[in-house]
């Protein structure tokens, strides 16, 4: 009965064409059809509901709900209560996984009531079309990326490109957390206070390194009250004032820090008597320098200033009262007594720094920032503004707004008014820019940059009545996304200029720019950050195999193995190869030590170069020592991990996590025998089997490579058996057959996986169900272009999620 109805449905589906055909039609066509559905939709809904209750639910009841229902459903996954097509839409995440497992052929499990192929196909198609129906309407949601903070490597690269400083301490910023396999995911990049503190310090250090300032003037100052002077025959009048009543010296002794001009200021007064005013001779190191005249009375002391040229070192400066005069009272003539009072002495000096920087000694960073020079002091305000405008626009990766400019130039002007040099004021501005959220985050406001609308930024097509259009990113935002995607850094002047002229979306500019960017050495960052994380090879850093068991592996090989894969990926991009070659390339990139590690002769020197693998047991990524090691345990291979790695990273079908019922294992006895036997015992447990039969056979096919990627035919005296049975019943024996299987049966799945991983990386967010529309389009383009890597990159950049700003859908 059921069988008959399935056929009926297949007939229906053929006649309606547009709905359930995705598995048979080219994907681009499906997308086109989905857009044309229009009025057909209402009828479809009735039909879908009917199919659900008459065919789908009975099949689910018969084959799935036995385990996946109730209070403790298998794998925590309940498939109950999906009563309407809408319920399927809402539960699409669950059903996406379910469909994957059904397509793999391991669900429902063999032991249960067998689901025949026709029914399986029907279920898969019905569910897929139901949960896809929603997705690609006229304007699928391009999604929203959460404000992305620059991660540590993006920060370091951006600083390098912004001011030409390689800021190494960025390596020690608290590690960026990883989400969806990458460390550039906006949602996961938090900003703990500890990191902000590092940014504040970095901003100081970087601005001081990037901008040179005239050295500040050095000040020397020594002050004495009169009673603090050293005396030779003087007398203290009891207060702060020193009175010299007869020929006598008052002295100071100072360590003079540099040779040059100083100023001696003596605050002095005199008791005047006789026919001349008080005289005071100044002596330096006992040599008379000048005689000063003190005319004022004690009540009105005066500051007498004397410029002195002094040599560096300990100097003795003496003030000598030279014209003592005393006549005793004689009859009517009163006593005449001439005395000198010294109130204060100060010695000051300024070592003038060169007021201007030496133009021949300016650093490259400095010159790049101060790209215009003030000709006169009157130019300074104008030049300050020009310099700040360029610096700010580059730091913010878009034109600075007038308000932003005003705030920053005001800040600089205030500092200059405070006596700071012009250069130092720009230094402070740079410091402020480097901790601004507009620099530290990649800002894409929902409504575009201020003024964007007035500038006539593209707004995207309307989404429907009463709905605001998903806006296109403006050209600056697009240039920024491109540069962080391919360079992990800020856009260069060329990209910014294109954005400024709104030229980025014209003609083949995007394609041309991508080509240019990939040819630029900065694209090494893309290789390292994308490939290094996609293939999980960054984890190699913490891989430390037992040195006794694997003496050939060491820290150097660890690094070289990583370089091999990075060079390989870079070569594939340079030669614009098909994605498929990543799996089966009969060449790799080696240098002498790495070639020796593989036993490949005639590779000399430390440079990596393309090396043929013909006649060896190796070909493609799966035979790279890096991949084989990172999926191993410190003392042995792990077929489980290797299998899981393939599912996770090449096929994008991560095995479901271990069931929550694991504690029951406690009651079981210890597993014994060889690794293969132990894993077979493990799989005997149905709770474990469903996942392990996915992972283990893939991993076993790689058993000819040991935990550090060396070829072997024996392990512990036993011959290696690299065979296994895939969930669909086919067998693979060894890495060559595994490769073949992946490239034939899983070709599309692999291409889709790489697309999804790269799109995730490019967007900085996890993919949502609605991104399937974009992925489908990219896949269609790939199929047309022999899966070329350049097509993948270009199509990602041209995809809606990359080009537009959509919204985040509540779960």
């Amino acid at each position: 009965m059921v069988h008959a109805s399935v056929q009926e449905i297949e007939l229906n589906s053929t006649s309606e064409g547009n709905m359930r055909s995705i598995f048979f039609l080219p994907i681009s066509l499906t997308v086109a059809c989905a857009c044309l559905m229009g009025d057909a939709r209402a009828t479809d809904k009735v039909l879908l509901q009917k199919q659900l209750s008459t065919q789908v639910q009975p099949l689910l009841r018969e084959h799935c709900l036995g385990c996946h229902s109730g209070a403790e459903p298998e794998a925590g996954l309940s498939l109950e209560h999906f009563d309407s097509p809408k319920a399927f839409l809402k539960g699409r995440r669950i059903w996406e996984k379910a469909v994957q497992r059904m397509a793999l052929g391991d669900m429902p499990p063999k032991e249960s009531n067998k689901l025949d192929d026709a029914k399986r196909k029907f279920l898969i198609e019905w569910i897929t079309s139901t949960i896809k129906d929603f997705e690609c309407g006229l304007t699928p949601n391009p999604g929203q990326v959460t404000l992305r903070r620059l991660n540590a490597s993006e920060y370091r690269n951006t600083i390098r490109d912004l001011v030409g400083i390689d800021y190494k301490p960025a390596e020690n910023f608290p590690a960026d957390d990883v989400g969806y396999g990458f460390d550039n995911i906006g949602d996961v990049l938090t900003l703990p206070p500890l990191l902000m503190e590092k940014y504040v310090i970095a901003a100081e250090e970087i601005s001081e390194q990037a901008i040179m300032t005239p050295p500040a003037d050095k000040q020397f100052e020594a002050n004495y009250a009169g009673n603090q002077l050293m005396l030779k025959d003087g007398q203290n009048s009891g207060d702060m004032i020193l009175t010299l009543a007869s020929t006598a010296d008052a002295m100071i002794e100072e360590q003079i820090p540099w040779p040059g001009a100083f100023q001696l200021t003596v605050t002095a007064s005199g008791d005047q008597a006789g026919n001349e005013p008080c005289k005071m001779q100044v002596l330096v190191d006992d040599k008379p320098v000048k005689e000063l005249v003190v005319r004022n009375s004690r009540e009105q002391p005066e500051d007498i200033k004397l410029p002195l040229r002094l040599r560096a070192g300990k100097r003795k400066i003496a003030l000598r009262f030279t014209n003592d005069f005393y006549v005793e009272k004689k009859g009517d003539t009163p006593q005449q007594d001439r005395n000198l009072h010294i109130h204060y002495v100060s010695l000051t000096g300024t070592q003038a720094s060169k007021a201007k920087l030496d133009p021949t000694k300016l650093s490259k960073s400095h010159k790049a920032i101060f790209f215009v020079e003030p000709k006169t002091d009157a130019d300074i305000p104008k030049v300050t503004r020009t310099v700040i405008e360029r610096l700010t626009s580059r730091a913010y990766r878009r034109m600075a707004t007038p308000e932003e400019l005003k705030a920053l130039t005001d800040m600089a002007a205030a500092l200059q008014a405070d006596g700071e040099s012009y250069e130092a004021s720009i230094q402070a501005v740079l410091q402020a820019l480097l901790i601004s959220p507009k620099f530290l985050f990649r800002v894409e406001p929902p409504r575009g940059e201020p003024g964007g609308e007035q500038r006539g930024e593209p707004r995207g097509e309307p989404r429907g009545e009463g709905l605001e259009a998903y806006r296109n990113l403006d050209d600056y935002e697009l240039a920024t996304r491109m540069s962080y995607f391919l360079w992990s850094s800020m856009p260069d002047d060329k990209l910014l200029a294109l954005a400024w002229g709104k030229k980025l979306r014209t003609g083949t500019t995007i394609e041309d720019q991508i080509k240019r960017m990939l040819a630029d050495p900065r694209s090494n960052e893309f290789i390292d950050n994308f490939a290094g994380q996609w293939l999980t090879l960054r984890k190699l850093k913490s891989f430390k195999p037992d040195p006794q068991m694997f003496p050939k592996w060491n820290d150097d090989i660890n690094k070289l193995a990583y370089f091999e894969t990075m060079n390989f990926f870079r070569g594939a991009i340079r030669e614009d190869l098909s994605i498929m070659r990543l799996l089966d390339a009969d060449f790799t990139y080696l240098n002498e030590p790495m070639a020796a590690y593989y036993g490949i002769p005639n590779v000399k020197g430390n440079n990596f170069r393309k090396v043929s693998l013909e006649g060896t047991n190796r070909a493609g990524l799966l035979t790279h020592a890096s991949v084989l090691a990172v999926t191993s345990n410190p003392t042995r291979t792990s077929p489980v991990k290797r299998g899981k790695w393939i599912l996770d990273n090449l096929l994008a079908t991560p095995p479901p996590p271990a069931p929550p019922g694991v504690p029951e294992l406690k009651e079981k006895g210890e597993l014994v025998g060889t690794l293969r036997q132990r894993l077979e015992q493990h799989r005997a447990d149905p709770a474990c089997a469903s996942c392990h039969k996915l992972m283990d056979p893939l991993g076993f096919a790689l058993e000819n490579f040991d935990a550090v990627g060396q070829w072997r035919t024996q392990d512990g005296g036993q011959a290696i058996d690299p065979s296994g049975e895939l969930p669909d019943g086919s067998r693979v024996n060894g890495v060559a057959q595994l490769r073949q299987t992946l490239l034939t049966k899983n070709k599309e799945q692999f291409a889709r996986c790489v697309t999804e991983k790269m799109l995730t990386y490019a967007l900085g967010r996890g993919l949502e169900y609605y991104d399937k529309c974009a992925v489908d389009k990219i896949m269609a383009a790939l199929q047309k272009n022999d899966y070329k890597l350049s097509t993948l990159i270009i199509e990602i950049v041209k995809s809606d999620p990359f080009q537009k700003k959509g919204e985040r859908e509540p779960e």
């Binding site: 794998a75 925590g76 996954l77 959460t146 404000l147 020690n172 608290p174 957390d177 990883v178 989400g179 969806y180 396999g181 460390d183 949602d187 938090t190 900003l191 703990p192 206070p193 990191l195 902000m196 503190e197 504040v200 901003a203 100081e204 705030a407 402070a428 402020a432 901790i435 601004s436 959220p437 507009k438 530290l440 985050f441 800002v443 406001p445 929902p446 994380q533 999980t536 913490s542 037992d546 006794q548 068991m549 345990n633 410190p634 003392t635 996770d648 991560p654 479901p656 996590p657 069931p659 929550p660 694991v662 504690p663 294992l665 406690k666 079981k668 210890e670 967010r765 996890g766 779960e811």
Partner: protein, 447 residues
Amino acid sequence: MSRRINRRTVLRGAGVAVCLPWLEAMMPRTALGAAAAKAPLRLAFLYVPNGMHMPDWTPDKEGPGFDIKPTLEPLKHLKDKFSVLSGLTLDGARAHQDGGGDHARSAAAFLTGAHPKKTDGADIHNGISVDQAIAQAVGDQTRFASLELGLEGSSQAGSCDSGYSCAYSSNLAWRNPTSPLAKEMDPSAVFDRLFGSGDKKEDTKTSEVRKSRRKSILDFALNDAKKLQSELGAADRRKMDEYLYAVRDIENRLVKSEKLRVGEDGIPNYPRPAGVPRELDEHCKLMLDMLALALQTDSTRVATFMFANEGNNRGYPEIGAPEGHHDLSHHGGSAEKQTKVAKINRFYAERLAYFLDLLASVHEGESTLLDNSLIVYGSGISDGDRHNHDELPILLAGKGGGRVRSGRHVRFAPETPMCNFYVWMLNQFGVKADSFGDSKGKLEGLS
């Protein structure tokens, strides 16, 4: 009054690490002054991953006469300074329909008692951790409200645990449900942060200039961010909240460091570490030294320390356990693997003993730093093979300034939430709370 020893004089002669105990003459005025009145209460959580070989951990006997099992033998000489707490449970770490991911959940729930939301990135959600709840109450009394330290940064790539973002498995401290606090793993960076960099010659004038400029620039940043925030959508605004919080935190600390300035004599006799040592053992010692210094100098009163991220699969060839820790912990009943797990457990217990010895060597008036501390050591997983989150291996060291009767094995009723323990802890710090996380009351019988 005796002269305090100038750090520079000491440093000049200190080519090699000067071993503790530190001279009391070098104790900073802040802590000494405090000790004279009443020594402040300090709190630290030390976390080890992958559970414990429980038969070698849990004592058979209860009470003060408890027996020390092999894992805790390195702590034998401190037997009256710590208690083993059995029966505590971390329900939030359990699956609750979310499937696998026990490692990520254990670390995330350990101090929050929350059930972290399963996500690889979007909408990360956990709970506030108890250390942060306490830091928010007492953090204004020290230069740093809390310190987060560890020996391992976040994961470098890939997924950390079954669909959970790595943020869950590598952070213990959560300032709020969405903001984990990253940890520092470079001892030289910690030292600089605590005491200023030792070899940078800055005259006071430059540092004054720096400070005043820093203040005006932070003000500028705050204004910028506030304006920007009003233009952003909800998810972005949350990011900007983090930014604003961080900037205000630094501003506060600038003000505070003026109030609680570390003078020349506030800097302990300890040479600045050179960086991250290659050897785990050495790295571990340096970081524990930093933690002890921070508590000793009263730079902070609240700290968390992760010996490794949860689920770590490092091998320990140096102690005869070259296989990966995580891999071994799934021992499948193998006696050999369990023995090796026990070896790793003991390795970390030795590090704990080193740390507790440090604290015990610092005198604070009549008592010691250890006496005035609450040090919690343990894991959010009990048996690594079963991934169970009841019967957790938890140890409480220190007398909490007389608040704890230590030197016992205390057994609580099965399924007693860890959060009951945290409610008690909050109360010790003067926080009037009667619930926290998934608590069902307050742990009784500790004091």
